[in-house]
């Protein structure tokens, strides 16, 4: 095999491995999702299936502060109350309201976050509008519940949990979901 052929062969192999690494970058996406699932991190939008200690602890009272944001969305999005008091282990429901102010249907996805961050793992959502994408007709108003239990194992120094939702528009869906 002469030099030119050898060079060409090596070029082909190296170019293919570069292409393979480009694909590897994309393969990291499902890999990452699986790792997160296996380790139980990043499960904000999933329904809680972990058994919760439902032993109501009436000696403690936790303030749940409710917050809402719409990110670049023509929606008015707010909780009906600003805060509620619950006992750990007690089932509670709060309601949010969204109004689509655009004259076209819009699809959005809510993403929750918690303050303090670690309180999230003690905050079990049994029902939440954030489990699915929401599509609103032009001008539609919708009230949506969040049903939750605060795990009785919540560390004793936490007295207030802020639950904050941000609605993002699901681009390219044009209201179809």
């Amino acid at each position: 095999m002469n030099l030119e052929q050898a060079n060409r062969r090596l070029f082909l192999r190296l170019a293919l491995s570069a292409l393979g690494m480009f694909g590897f970058g994309f393969a990291l996406v499902p890999f990452y999702n699986q790792i997160c699932k296996a380790l139980g991190v990043n499960s904000l939008e999933q329904r809680s299936s972990i058994p919760v200690s439902r032993q109501v602890d009436p000696s403690r009272s936790i303030t749940i502060e409710l917050d809402s944001n719409a990110h670049n969305l023509p929606w008015r999005f707010r909780p009906l109350v600003n805060h509620v008091q619950v006992h750990p282990g007690e089932l509670a429901t709060v309601e949010y309201e969204i109004v689509n102010q655009r004259s076209a249907p819009v699809t959005g996805q809510a993403v929750p976050s918690y303050g303090p961050q670690f309180a999230g793992e003690y905050f079990r959502k049994l029902e939440c509008f954030c489990f699915t994408q929401q599509t609103l007709a032009p001008g539609e108003t919708r009230r949506m519940p969040v049903t939750f239990v605060v795990d009785a194992k919540l560390p004793r120094d936490v007295n207030t949990i802020t639950l904050s939702y941000t609605f993002f528009e699901v681009a390219g869906r044009g209201g179809k979901s």
Binding site: L3, A6, N7, L10, F11, L14, A15, S17, A18, L19, G20, M21, F22, G23, F24, G25, F26, L28, V29, Y32, C36, L39, V41, N42, E45, H71, G108, Q109, V111, Q117, T166, F168, E169, V170, A171, G172, R173
Partner: protein, 533 residues
Amino acid sequence: MSAVVDGHGHGHSHDHGEHPGGYGGIMRWITTTNHKDIGTMYLWFSFLMFGIGGIIAVVIRAELFSPGLQFVNPDLFNQLTTMHGLIMIFGAIMPAFVGFANWQIPMMIGAPDMAFARLNNWSFWLLPFAATLLILSFLMPGGAPGVGWTMYAPLTVQMGMGMDFTIFAVHLLGMSSILGAINIITTVLNMRAPGMTLLRMPLFVWTWLITAYLLLAVMPVLAGAVTMTLTDRHFGTTFFNAAGGGDPVLYQHIFWFFGHPEVYVVAMPAFGVISQVIPAFSRKPIFGYASMVYATSAIAIISFIVWAHHMYTTGMPVTGQLFFMYATMLVAVPTGVKVFNWVATMWKGSLSFETPMLFALGFLFMFTLGGFTGLVLSIVPVDIQLQDTYYVVAHFHYVMVAGALFSAFAGIYFWLPKWTGRMYDETLGKIHFWLTLVFFNMIFFVQHFLGLAGMPRRIPDYPLMFETWNKVSSLGAFGMGLAQLLFLYIVVKCIRSGAPAPQKPWEGADSLEWTHLPTPAPYHSFETPPVLK
């Protein structure tokens, strides 16, 4: 660039007819497939980018000279820090070492040229277009991306058009690097002179071979990451967009899978240059040649399993933090092997301290210091305190500037006589070294203090208590900038009117370009392979 054309005119008036196609003037540079011409273009391009990135750095330091907002608004400040990082890494340091590779690798292994000469030309000419795109992004509505050189989502998904320019620029830069890497690997593996076995290659060639493999493995991953950002921005995908179930932290993982090996892409050719310079001025062969090769390979392999030490604060499980902490500390072992080998090379050598050696010693001291602060930062609880402070800024400038840049200066002074046929001005070179050394430490040593005191990076304004050290740092930056004008003067003076250099100006240099080629190196060298004993 005209200076170099002149330089070649002086050096080779007799062999002008040898230029392929016989083009003169600018067409010679556009059409050239000669590794020496292309190496020269890489080096001048990177110096130009170094100037632009440097001017941006000076503006940043001018803004930080005093608390409050003086010259630039916070938005522009973010754009400037982003562009400073991108231009210096992708425009200045990487092309500089590719320039060295082009000039030196064929001469050091006894090959007539790079394996794919025309591809080599194309790899270079992608760069000016990439740089233009990058700089044009300042003129777009919304300005250049102000997202930091790491281009983290979700900010990148929200930025204006400047972000798209940057993404395409990164694509072009990545393509250029990948093609360059393929070229270098093929040249080194297939075109060595008979008798030049792998374990007889100069260490500069070895470090570049390993670097090229790193580039091949990680540049496509970066291309993937910015492609995902692009499709998130315009084509409704949701890799990083939380609305559709994407995750911004995923971007950080993909980016740093590229980003950490990238650190060694920058550092390893620097190691290679230092491994040529120190033995030459110690008049001794390198100590522990084989262990140098294995240490370099070990660093390259470990670099793939440490990326998440950039992400300790993203909320990863403690097991993950521990794994990445120990893996990161492991890097210190092969790096230590290299540092000790350099020191042992000097041990009982007959040392002399010409400018290249001075820069190599500056590298040795300060790169090691940067390595130590890296070890400090690898410790999870410490890093959580120091994350995104000026301590981190000081750390990576010690490895990037005192590491890569110092070694590039060492390499330029070392090989300039061989390239141009003329000696640089030794006195001025030494002045350049001492100015650079003092001003460099003035800028960055004090930033350790700022970081430990809690000053965050990427802010245009800061509390009054940080003022003193920021003033020192800014003054250092102005001095450092001016000192580099002296460097330009030294190089131009050398090319135009330096004293003629002998074939082997450095007594201890022993690789093929010194022992087998006249000075200046002829336009076409080793068309028949040299005979190695």
